[in-house]
Amino acid sequence: MITIQNLKKSFRTEEVETLALNSVNLKVEDGEFVAIMGPSGCGKSTLLNIIGMLDNPTEGNYNFAGNEVSGLKESQRTQLRKGNLGFVFQSFNLIDELTVFENVELPLIYLKMNKSERKQKVRAVLERMKIAHREKHFPQQLSGGQQQRVAISRAVVTNPKLILADEPTGNLDSKNGIEVMNLLTELNQEGTTIVMVTHSDRDSHYAHRVINLFDGQIVTESQNRAIGAMV
């Protein structure tokens, strides 16, 4: 699904140029669950943003499901992202002014799906995430765990091929964290590819493969034997 070759990303300020990613090569197969780890500032989130097409690499190639992404314009990236990718963020990133239902509905609106179909899909996903009883609430009225379940609902409501999770349990207590990881695992078992950035060793054990980044380069890669060990 994802093939990255010789990917580089540098940031330039007035005085210095920082190389955030340096010749990264990575392949992610359909249905894989990959965890990216590493110390702060190693380039994890930068890599995830490039995979999520929120950012463009400075150099190198990125192929997503047969499409070359590097060099695409923002509008083209948006088009490719729509319906194919779902995002789960550490800080949930729900729109405060929209209810649970409306937040989850939003990607479907951008896909120009009709109202009744939207309603059906949102209801189904909220039921599945066990948050349907809160559909009329606003994000501030929910606990962190509930908010992240809403965020996951929003990420999966379009049935994306790939979910990108950026420290999805970072703002949650352990109980809620486990719930979220179980949800992601469940989705992965149903065929959704997941790429997750995490600091947590425990969370990384849910992944099939763990990639370690350091100073913008992949330094180690390891396969997990006991998938879902913490379930």
Binding site: F87, D96, E97, E102, I109
Partner: protein, 799 residues
């Protein structure tokens, strides 16, 4: 999708009540000002729209040149009518001679009213396309007929049938009502045409009019025409331009040029300078249009500034929307929808503001504007205004907000760039530049009005009243009335004059005197007066003597004013003879017996005109001038004067004017402009300050942590106030320096329209600058001090 946009917009409005109030309130004020100004402009531009043939109606105007100065006006000589009818009638559809609009007394049974109207030729109702409610359109055919406006007919006859009724005019002649026409609405010429009598009646009842039949030099009449559809005003003007010059040698030296002055220009472009049409009220239409646009712009700037200032708050939403599939175009649409919603709300509030203030505005602007509920064009234009404002106010925030990169905002590392605040600063500078320029403009207008008001008027206008004496009932009764009024103790002196104290009704030339330069073409303001004129007005005699009843020879005497003294080039004026050049004049020459102080009679903004006051030997005065007894109250005096008046003229309504009020009316137009621009300036400043208030509260909120840290480190309230205020004060200072030269240039140009005008002094600019600084300091301080006094522990905890 649209529903989603509006939902978010609505919830955002509710969530941020202060910002929403400032945004919507400011815009509502701006739109209300724009709407009111638009209604005013609409009213100005539709003046005379009552006349369906407006485009083909004109008045014949005449330009004449005296001593290289060309003056232009509507007064024409009587023989012109015959000349045009005989040789040029194929250029006209209708041609109507008319007297000037004058008050007359109309009597029916016990009812007596004084109303204004004209003597006009029979085609007048056709030319003006009067809407006849009763009777016939050709109601002026019979010499003793009169056509009445609806309200006059009602005042005289109530529910009785008016047609065929006989009314007495000026106790002079009986006229039969032949038609009643619809009242001519307020914003139209001839609005004061409350009755029309036949032109022939005018001729037969006035000897001087009969005598004027061949007098090309007597410009005492007016003429209205309508041209056929197959020609143009310009073409007809070219045909008739030299008719007078060609037919009359005596007046040819003044190069009389005739032209058609179209009805479409009567109201807005009626000023002439040295023979050239130079605009008129249209300059106020432009002025207020500019004010309206600027006030709306100020309100839009608030919207732009507050929206972009709050960008960090909205950035997260932009990031999320982009990450889940929103195109930039969709975000732009979303923000424009929000701006549309805000503007729509503001418009509804603006309409309420307009409805509440329209009556006050009408009083101030002397208008009768009604809210155009049923006007499709109004609502169409309003929709256009809403869309335009939404685009103007919303486009910059929409483009700015939608440009955020989702990576930055979602990572939480989004910070507005170093120069992100620059457009906001520029917009604040624009706002205050406009406001400061408005302040300067208003102060200059007010100063100019006061300057003219404080100009020495030359006579004592307090406690002086004038009573019109148009009726024949007054003929030969002056001496009697003078002794009655003075004997009543309510009046200390009295005189008559041929025109009101604040106007000149007659201008004359064609005289010679010893020492008159060769080729000099004189033009005097001419008033015939009774001997007590100077005394009753409090006019000072500065050379020679006043008229005296002791000297029989004073019946051929004149007084001249100081300007006339210089104008005629006389060094020893007393005893100088002024001779009428016309050969047939049977009267002896007029002798100058005294020089009176200059008095302002016409425009207080213009130089005083050379004036001659001729002894009224025929008792032709049109006004009694009464100096009330200063030792009694005005009320007491008036009650006595009315009683004496009614004793002698029971059938004539007692009507009088205070001269000081009549004089004050000369400032009405400028005062209206001054008052309106004062109000609009105040609103402009209020709107700008609202925006500034919002921006300061935003900056204070944004810098809460910084303020906390500074306070912990020892900053005083003053230090924090200074930190928050100085940036804004700097911007206002820049505004002042931009506004001052612009305002000086514009206002100095405006003042040039007035020969008697002020020189703009430096303190006007200093005052405007200080005012702007003061208002800014107060606005900013409110938030700055609030932030500075907050407990730093609290503010640090907000992190």
């Amino acid at each position: 999708m649209l529903k989603n946009y509006f939902k978010i917009a609505w919830r955002n409005l509710l969530k941020n009540k202060v910002y929403s109030s400032i945004n919507i309130g400011g815009l509502a004020l701006g739109i209300a000002v724009t709407l009111i100004i638009s209604l005013w402009i609409q009213d100005e531009l539709t003046h005379n729209d009552y006349y369906q043939s407006k485009a083909t109606i004109a008045q014949i105007y005449q330009s004449q040149t005296f001593n290289n100065q060309t003056s232009t006006g509507p007064a024409i000589p009587r023989p012109l009518e015959k000349a045009l009818r005989d040789g040029y009638m194929d250029n006209f559809k209708h041609l109507v001679m008319s007297s000037w609009n004058n008050s007359q007394y109309l009597n029916y049974k016990e009812i007596s009213i004084s109303k204004s109207g004209n003597f006009m030729q029979a085609e007048a109702p056709e030319l003006l396309d009067l809407k006849i409610l009763k009777g016939e359109k050709d109601g002026l055919r019979e010499i003793n007929s009169i056509m009445l406006s609806e309200s006059i007919a009602e005042a005289l006859f109530g529910s009785e049938e008016p047609i065929g009724k006989i009314i007495k005019v000026n106790s002079e002649f009986d006229m039969m009502v032949t038609a009643v026409y619809e009242d001519i609405p307020f914003n139209n010429s001839f609005n004061d045409l409350e009755f029309i009598m036949p032109w022939e009646k005018y001729i037969t009842t006035r000897e001087w009019v009969q005598n004027a039949i061949d007098s090309w030099g007597n410009n005492s009449f007016q003429m209205f025409v309508q041209i056929p559809d197959n020609t143009t005003m310009e073409r007809v003007t070219e045909t008739v331009r030299n008719v007078k010059k060609d037919l009359n040698e005596d007046t040819a030296e003044f190069n009389p040029q005739l032209f058609l002055f179209p009805m479409e220009d009567w109201y807005l472009r009626s000023n002439f300078e040295n023979g050239q049409q130079v605009g008129g009220r249209i300059k106020y239409v432009w002025l207020f249009a500019v004010i309206g646009i600027f006030v709306l712009l100020l309100a839009c700037i608030n919207f732009m500034n507050l929206s972009t200032a709050r960008s960090e708050k909205r950035s997260k939403e932009v990031g999320i929307r982009k990450s889940i599939g929103s195109q930039r175009r969709q975000l732009i649409n979303q923000f424009l929808s929000e701006s549309f919603l805000v503007v729509l709300f503001a418009f509804v509030i603006a309409v309420v503001i307009v409805l509440l203030s329209l009556s006050g505005f009408n009083d101030l602007a002397r208008k009768e504007i009604a809210f155009p509920w049923s006007s499709i064009s109004f609502w169409g234009i309003s929709l256009g205004l809403i869309l335009f404002t939404a685009l103007l106010a919303g486009s910059y925030p929409a483009l700015y907000l939608s440009s955020f990169r989702p990576v930055d905002v979602l990572k939480g590392t989004f910070k507005a760039g170093k120069y992100a605040g620059t457009p906001r600063k520029i917009l604040v500078v624009v706002q205050f530049t406009v406001s400061v320029a408005f302040i300067i403009g208003t102060v200059v207008v007010m100063q100019q009005i006061n300057h003219a008001k404080n100009r020495p008027v030359g006579y004592n206008k307090e406690g002086l009243i004038q009573i019109p004496t148009f009726s024949d009932d007054f003929t030969g009764k002056y001496e009697l009335m003078r002794s009655e009024f003075i004997g009543s103790n309510a009046v200390v002196e009295m005189s008559t004059s041929s025109s009101p104290t604040t106007e000149v009704w007659s201008n004359r030339g064609g005289y010679s005197w010893e020492g008159k330069p060769e080729g000099f073409q004189e033009d005097f303001a001419w008033t015939t007066v009774s001997p007590e004129y100077a005394k009753s007005l409090g006019l000072k005699i500065i050379a020679g003597r006043d008229f005296s009843r002791e000297f029989a020879s004073d019946s051929s005497a004149v007084l001249i004013n100081e300007t006339a003294l210089k104008y005629m080039g006389l060094t020893n004026p007393i005893g100088t003879l002024i001779k009428d050049d016309s050969e047939e004049d049977p009267d002896p020459p007029l002798k100058i017996i005294g020089v009176v102080q200059d008095m302002i009679v016409q425009s207080p903004y213009e130089p005083i005109k050379q004036g001659v006051y001729e002894f009224d030997k025929y008792g032709l005065g049109s006004y009694y001038n009464l100096r009330l007894n200063p030792k009694q109250s005005v009320g007491q005096n008036l009650a006595i004067v009315e009683r004496v008046f009614k004793d002698h003229f029971p059938s004539i309504p007692f009507q009088y004017d205070f001269v000081d009020e009549q004089y004050g009316a000369k400032f009405a137009s400028e005062e209206r402009v001054g008052n309106l621009s004062g109000i609009f300036t105040a609103l402009a400043i209020l709107i700008s300050c609202l925006g500034l208030f919002g921006l300061t509260s935003f900056v204070a909120e944004q810098r809460t942590k910084e303020i906390g840290v500074r306070k912990v480190l020892g900053a005083s309230v003053f230090n924090v106030w200074n930190m928050l205020s100085k940036d804004f004060l700097k911007l206002i200072t820049i505004s002042c320096f931009i506004a001052v030269p612009i305002a000086y240039y514009v206002m100095n140009g405006w003042l040039q329209d007035y020969p008697y005008h002020i020189i703009i002094s430096w303190w006007v600019f200093a005052l405007a600058m200080l005012g702007a600084m003061g208002v800014t300091a107060i606005t900013v301080s409110f938030q700055a001090i609030k932030a500075a006094r907050a407990n730093p522990i609290k503010s640090l905890r907000t992190e």
